[in-house]
Symmetry: C2
Subunit: 299 residues, 2 copies
């Protein structure tokens, strides 16, 4: 609970919206975090109504968390970073939204993640969660690498690693690959006893399902399973290649963010691993930094 | 048009039902083909009602094609080979169907393809169309290899080759692979001008869509495109491995069937290519052979 007097006209809202959830954080004029909220998906590529509902709901939850009236939503200066708005048509559609905030500054989820990681400075990031991608912002130039989606892209991501693990185990159970510990680990994870049951379990599943199988590859790789090590090293090598390409843009700092960060980093080549710096702030704070930068430009 | 007198009680119907269509052929007691018909999908895994409707419709179309009354459907002895009935529950459900035929003998699409290819004798087949798999029937023992579906299985299939081509081109356009002729071939094929447009075109598409992109890999490989050759050789090597494993079962003949047969065969290792024999009959004739074999067992 916040007991200080709040200057209601100086409240900032940061929104980080993606395919699985929308995170909101509210800070005061002294950069104190007052409250935060999480609502449903907010990727306009997968639904405009759901996106604007999730943004507003997460903002109201953050106000409630801050012990503030939800009527203050109209006093908030919002920085909003969303997946999907790299597509010009979706950016335009979101810009035209009659939002309830005092002001809204819109950009991509990658931009706010990068701004957050490097505290508003130029820099580069790689994300490895359900998907994977690379991004840098240096001297006003944005660079995007990968992030093309599943199953045709996102190598090195959780969904990619889980898919490779399942594919490899099925080949092994067919007698077309060696039999390794990964077979048992996957069968146990899925509570299956044979290939047919695995196929029934994984058929037509989305990226988020396969991302939950990434742990199978990591667990087997930790046990020095030859086939699992090949998968994890292949994925880590791809992310390392993204890192090398981003470094050509000249960022001072390079960060890896996303759920796989702790488990994938040990498989990076040493030159890449030593180049990484821990992100300073989460993306929703990056969204607030973005709003403040845009306000400063207007001033 | 058939002008001879037909012994209506000796008519056989062969059905080959799969995920995209259902083919029916009618023969007389002298093994003359009287007519054939094609209807919609007939894979009970994707819909029971659609499957039985497609079977009956294709049979009636074959009767019409043979200049016979559709009332003769009740005189037909049907051999029916269907995708999906390798799952015991679906086999049971299809067996309980109150079918309109005189008799029905049900088995898998793989069994009838193998019986057709080897004219009723034991043997082995590999199928490479939208999907891929291997199957043998030798001394009463069935062996299944692969065929697990897309995107987690079906290596070497049209869908797999198309996916690899798209994935590789996207990596190349990101600057993470060499730039080769395959980039231009895919961009032209999809009428796209950059990676973002490719992603919009291929996102969330089914296996049948990616199978239509397999030609991109073959066209580029024919032009000695290094990355395309790696893809096609990897796929052909997998099918060759299936062939080697099937040969351990001791089939006299081994055939490759499916739409990719002519374009994939040149990439097989010589020892495998020389082992292949052309299939004798299509699967729907294999279905009739199956029905006759089952009748002979009952006699």
């Amino acid at each position: 609970m916040v007991t200080n007097v709040i200057n209601e006209q100086s409240l900032f809202l940061g929104i980080d919206g993606g395919g699985s959830k929308c995170k909101a954080t509210i800070i005061d004029e002294n950069n104190n975090i007052l409250g935060s909220g999480i609502a449903g998906p907010a990727n306009p590529l997968h639904g405009y109504e759901q996106t604007i509902n999730s943004i507003v709901e997460s903002a109201k939850l953050a106000l409630i968390d801050a012990d503030l009236s939800i009527d203050l939503v109209s006093s908030l200066t919002a920085g909003v970073g969303l997946a999907g708005v790299n597509l010009p048509s979706l950016f335009e559609k979101m810009q035209q939204w009659q939002h309830p905030f005092k002001q809204m500054f819109l950009t991509t989820d990658l931009r706010i993640a990068c701004l957050g990681a490097h505290n508003g400075e130029d820099g580069a990031i790689m994300i490895t969660g359900t998907g994977s991608c690379g991004y840098s912002f240096v001297n006003g130039k944005e660079t995007f690498i990968g992030g093309h989606g599943f199953p045709h892209g996102d190598k090195g991501s959780g969904a990619w690693l889980g898919l490779q693990a399942a594919t490899t185990v099925l080949r092994s159970l067919d007698g077309l690959e060696k039999t390794t510990a990964m077979n048992t680990i996957l069968l146990d994870k899925l509570n299956c006893s044979n290939a047919l049951e695995i196929v029934e379990a994984i058929a037509k599943k989305p990226a988020s399902y396969f991302a939950q199988l990434a742990c199978v590859a990591f667990q087997a790789a930790n046990e020095q399973d030859e086939l699992a090590l090949a998968i994890v090293n292949d994925g880590a090598s791809y992310i390392s290649n993204i890192a090398r390409k981003l470094c050509l843009e000249g960022p001072i700092e390079l960060s890896l963010i996303g759920g796989l960060t702790p488990v994938l980093t040990p498989y990076f080549e040493p030159e890449i691993a030593s180049r990484l710096s821990a992100p300073t702030n989460p993306p929703e704070i990056g969204a607030i930094i973005f709003a403040k930068q845009q306000l400063a430009k207007q001033a």
